[in-house]
Symmetry: none
Subunit: 210 residues, 4 copies
DNA sequence: AATGAATGAGGCTTCATTCAT
DNA sequence: AATGAATGAAGCCTCATTCAT
C-alpha cells in the first residue's frame, strides 16, 4: 500500500463511476423522471450537493451512465465484427453472446426499457442515446447481414428492416424483464428464448436449400 | 325528449369514458408521470375539479384508461382463431393483419409503451394488464403454434419461448414508434418491417424440406 | 352591494395588482434576487403556488410591477407635454411635479434603485425597463429641451447629454432615498432639493441675458 | 534575501489585499449576492478554502473591499481644495478632473453602484461607507460652494441641497455606466456629459448679471 | 354536477461554509 | 498555510389535490 495512489485521490477518481452506478440502479428501477437525486446520493452514500461536483445536471448524470455502461460494449462488438472470420451466422452468435455478457446479464440490461420509457419526455436524452448507441448498433448489425448476403449465406433481404426485426426480440427480452415480467408466473428462460431466436434466424436467414 | 334517455343524462353517464379517452391520448403521448391533469381536463373540455368527481386520483384514472382501452381488442382475435380453417401460417397472417388494423394503426398502439414504462411504478396495474391482455394474447398465439406443430407445418419447438420471440418484433414496432423512432432520420416502413418479420417466420418455422 | 360584481370575482380580478403591490414593496426593500417568492406570497396573504396562477415567473411578476406602476405615469407625462402651451421652463416644472406625485412620493420611487442594482444581473429585466421606461422618458425630455432651444428660451446645447444631466439629480434623489439616505442624520428635504435643481436649471438653461 | 523581508512572508502579508482586489472586481461586475466565492478564489489564484483563512465570511470580505478601496481617494481631493487659489468655478473643475482620473475612469467607478445596490441589505456597511466617504466628500464640496458664495461668485443658495444636486450627475454617470448603460444603443460620451454638467453649473451658479 | 382558485409538498439546482488531509 | 471535496440549507417552480361557490 506504500507505493500506490493515496486512498483519498483514488476515492475521488472513482467517485463519478460510483455515482453513475447508483444512478443506473435507480433509473432502471423508477425511470429517469421518477428518480430523485436525493435517492441517488443516498444510495451512493454522499450528499445531494456532491452529485453536482461531478455532474452538471440530472441529464449529464444520465449521459454518463450510458457512456460508461453501454458504449464500451459496442466498441468491443465492433472489434469482434472486424476481426471475425468464418460463417456469418457464427458472427451473429458471437455478437449475441457478447451482448449477453456485457449487457443482458448486467445491470445495464435495464437501459433499453429506461430509454423507451423516457425518450418522448426527454428528447435530448433520446437523441444522445440514438446517436451513441442505436445508430452504431444498427450499423454493426447491418454490416453483418450484408456480409451474409454477399457471401451467399443469407437470402437477399431488406437489410434495414431485417436489422430491426432481428434486434427486436433481443431488446424485448430485457425490456420485458424490467417491466411486465414481474407478473409472469412461469417466465421463459432467457437461454431458451435466445436459442429459439437464433434458431429462427438460422433457418430463416440462410439461402433456401434445394 | 320524452321516450329516449334525456341527452343530459346520457351525457352524464358517458362522462367517465370521455375523460378516460382524453387521458389515454395524453398518457400515450407523454407517459403517466408527465401527463398533467390540467391537460387531461382541457382536452376533455371540463374543469380540473370535474375529474375528481369521477376518479379518486390520477392513478385511478390510469386504471380506468387501461381497462377501457385494451380488453375488447382480444376478443375479436380469439374469434378469428376459433373459426380459422387452412394453413397455420395463414392464420398467423390473419392474426397479424387483425392486430394491425385494431391496434397497430390506432391510438391504442401507444399502450404497450405506456405499460412497459409504468409497469414497475404501478405493479397493480401491471398485474391487471398482464392478466387481461398479455396472458390471453400469449395463449392465443401458443395455440396457433401448437396447431402448426401438430399438423406438421412447423418443426417441433419450445412453444413458450417461440411465442415470446414471435410477438417481440410486433410489440417493438409500436413501442419503438412511440419512443425512439423520433430520432430516426430514415425510419423503416412498418409494412416492410412486418413483411420481413413474416418472411422470417415463414421460412424459419416450417419443417425442414428435404 | 346587490347589483355590484360578486366579491369572489372582484377578488380574482384584483389579485394580480395585490400581488404586484406586495412584490414591489419587497423588491424595493431587498432587491430582486434577494426577494423570496415565499415572502411575496406571505405579504400578499396567499400561498406560494398562488403566485404562479397569475405570473409565469419571478421575472414576469417584476415586469408587471413596472408596467403597473411606472408606465401609466409616463403616459400621463406624454399627454401633459403634448397639450402644454407656454414657456418651456414651465413645462419642465409641470413634468417634474407630475413625476413627483406619480412616482417620487409613492412606493414606486424605489424602482430606480431596484433597476440600477439588478440591471447587470438580469439583462432581460434591464432591457424591458429600458425599452418601456427609460427610452420613453428620455425622448419626452429631449423633446421638451429641443422645444426650448427652438423657441430661443434655452441656449443651444448637446441635447442627448443635457437630458442625462437633467434627469440625474431627480433619479439620484429617489435612489439615494432607498439606499444610503438611511445613514444621513440631517437629510436634505426633497422639496428643497428639487427646488434647487429647478433653480439651477432655470438660470442655467435660459439663453444668456445681456 | 538577508536584509529585506523574505518574499514568502511579504506574499503572505499581502494576501488579504490581493484577495480583496479580486473580490472588488467581481463585486463591481456582478454585485455582492451574485458574486460566487469560487470565482473570487479563482481570480485570486487561490482555493476557495483559503479565503476563509483570511475572512470569516463573504460579508467580512465585502467590508474589507470597501475599506481598502475608497478611503485613500478623498485625501487627495481634500488636499487640492486646501491649496487652491483662484476662482471657485475653477476649483470645482479641478475637483471634477481629479475625481475623474482617480475614480471615474478606474475600476473603483463601480463602487457607487455597488453601495447603492447593497446598502439596504448591509446597513452596517452602508454606515461605514457613509461615514468614511460620503460625509467627507460632501463636506469638501460644501466648503467649495460656501467659498464661492462668500466671494460673490455664486448666488446665495441652500448649500446642503446644492451639494447633493451638484454631485448627483457625477454619481449617476458611473452608476449608470455600471447598470443600465448596457441597454443604450447610443450612449452619451462621458466627456460631453461632464462638460454639459459643468456648463450648467457655470451659468447656473453665478450671480445674476444685470 | 361543475367550477377553478388555492394550496403545499416535493424536485432540481446553487453556493456559502466546513474540515480532513 | 493551503487545499478542495463535501455538505446542507434555501430558492424557484410544478402539479396533484381540495374546497368554497
Amino acid at each position: 500500500m506504500s507505493h500506490s495512489t493515496p486512498p483519498r485521490k483514488r476515492r475521488k477518481e472513482a467517485r463519478p463511476s460510483e455515482l453513475a452506478a447508483a444512478a443506473l440502479s435507480l433509473f432502471v428501477e423508477k425511470g429517469f423522471a421518477a428518480t430523485r437525486l436525493d435517492d441517488v446520493a443516498q444510495r451512493a452514500g454522499v450528499s445531494k450537493g456532491t452529485l453536482y461536483l461531478y455532474f452538471d445536471s440530472k441529464e449529464a448524470l444520465f449521459k454518463r451512465v450510458i457512456q460508461e455502461g453501454v458504449v464500451p460494449v459496442l466498441i468491443e462488438a465492433e472489434s469482434i465484427a472486424l476481426k471475425h472470420e468464418g460463417s456469418t451466422i457464427l458472427l451473429l452468435e458471437k455478437l449475441l453472446a457478447n451482448w449477453w455478457s456485457g449487457i443482458g446479464e448486467t445491470p445495464y440490461a435495464g437501459i433499453p426499457k429506461l430509454m423507451v420509457a423516457e425518450a418522448s419526455n426527454f428528447p435530448e436524452l433520446a437523441k444522445f442515446y440514438h446517436e451513441h448507441v442505436i445508430r452504431r448498433g444498427k450499423a454493426l448489425l447491418a454490416a453483418a447481414l450484408a456480409r451474409g448476403v454477399a457471401s451467399g449465406e443469407f437470402a437477399p433481404m431488406n437489410i434495414e428492416a431485417a436489422v430491426d426485426v432481428v434486434i427486436a426480440p433481443i431488446l424485448m427480452l430485457v425490456i420485458w424483464h424490467h417491466s411486465l415480467a414481474c407478473c409472469e408466473s412461469n417466465p421463459v428462460d432467457p437461454k431458451d428464448y435466445l436459442a429459439t431466436h437464433l434458431k429462427l434466424l438460422g433457418t430463416g436467414l440462410v439461402a433456401t436449400r434445394v
